[in-house]
Point group: C2
Chain length 211, copies 2
């Protein structure tokens, strides 16, 4: 989470080159993710986000129109990145069980590299309202639906146990992947993100695979 | 979560028989758990808790001294019940893997029967302050420590795989058990709490057992 180091005194963002605008935009989002993950949505203030970026509060409204807008963008970006992972893995043309496990491996690494974003997705999504809430809840269901499609395909191929309803198998995997971001926060020996992701995939494989 | 149905007009709680006082206390706690789970700690108001119990706000301060006190009691009760489950299962004198699985089965049922309490434990514990926060975090560690003790004992006995560090195996199980309360909230077919708990235990057994 690198902080933007350009001077914050100008409000002439329309004259900036696109790259600088993009960098500032990224810095604003990174600061917002940090603050919201630490404080929770209800206790997040736009003032604190501004303080972390090093700009006046008013200038932040070039980047988003309200606190809810900020939450929406954070959640939307997380969803977009998750969909990209699913599409990248599908494009590999793996077998059904291998595709499921590779998807889990990459999702686990994403969660571990984006713990703050993931915390917000799980804890604060409910603070969205109206159409935005419906959209965000649909994104959560997309994630589960994609997992369940992979589970069902692997059950049909005989590579995943079919003594349990695919919805139960899916929720089991979903519970595991949704919590993998919390593994490093405990005390004791540090494990790398790769070690954690590999252990998660190995244990999940044993739980569900028929061979 | 039965609501207390006694009339809320009297404030003469000191003259009530102990049983009635206990019932009212339970009703206050049940309403507080409901409100806090729905709204989150920051957005919870003592006024709304009072409205649900059907008493004046001021009379609630017979039962707790502050909103933080209420959160502390909710978290403390959850911990006490969890410790009781661990002690009950230990007293059965089961083998190491069987004790681990029976503990998970009963914890899963507890989480499923106490979803609101569990939501508060996971989401709002961080809002406690000072010694109370330290105490609550120690309770979270107790839960993980007990699981890890069971995992290590079963690894020593050769009943749980030892190709993975016990801390990784423990965090895997912990992630699963901590999310089991969320399994029923998804759309589609309803599963009973027993079906969910048994599926969770069967999948976890396959993930970790050597036989």
């Amino acid at each position: 989470m690198a902080r933007n180091t350009t001077t914050p005194t100008t409000n002439g963002h329309a004259r900036r080159p696109p790259t600088e605008r993009r960098n500032r935009d990224d810095a604003v989002m990174a600061a917002a993710v940090e603050v919201m993950s630490e404080r929770g949505y209800a206790a997040t203030s736009v003032q604190e986000v501004a303080d972390r970026v090093g700009v006046l509060k008013g200038s932040l409204y070039h980047y988003f129109s309200s606190k809810e807008d900020l939450l929406y963008r954070i959640v939307q970006e997380s969803h977009t990145q998750t969909v990209q992972i699913a599409e990248d893995v599908s494009a590999l043309g793996l077998g059904s069980l291998e595709e499921l496990l590779e998807y889990l491996r990459r999702e686990a690494v994403w969660f571990l590299n984006n713990r703050d974003r993931a915390n917000i997705f799980f804890t604060d999504r409910r603070h969205l309202t109206g159409e935005r809430l419906q959209e965000a809840n649909a994104w959560g269901r997309y994630f589960e639906r994609h997992l369940q499609d992979l589970v069902e395909a692997a059950q049909t191929d005989g590579h995943v146990r079919d003594d349990l309803d695919p919805r139960l198998v899916t929720r089991y995997i979903l519970g595991g992947i949704n919590n993998v971001r919390l593994w490093p926060s405990r005390s004791g020996k540090k494990f790398t993100n790769t070690e954690i992701a590999e252990a998660f995939v190995a244990l999940t494989r044993s739980a569900i695979a028929t061979d």
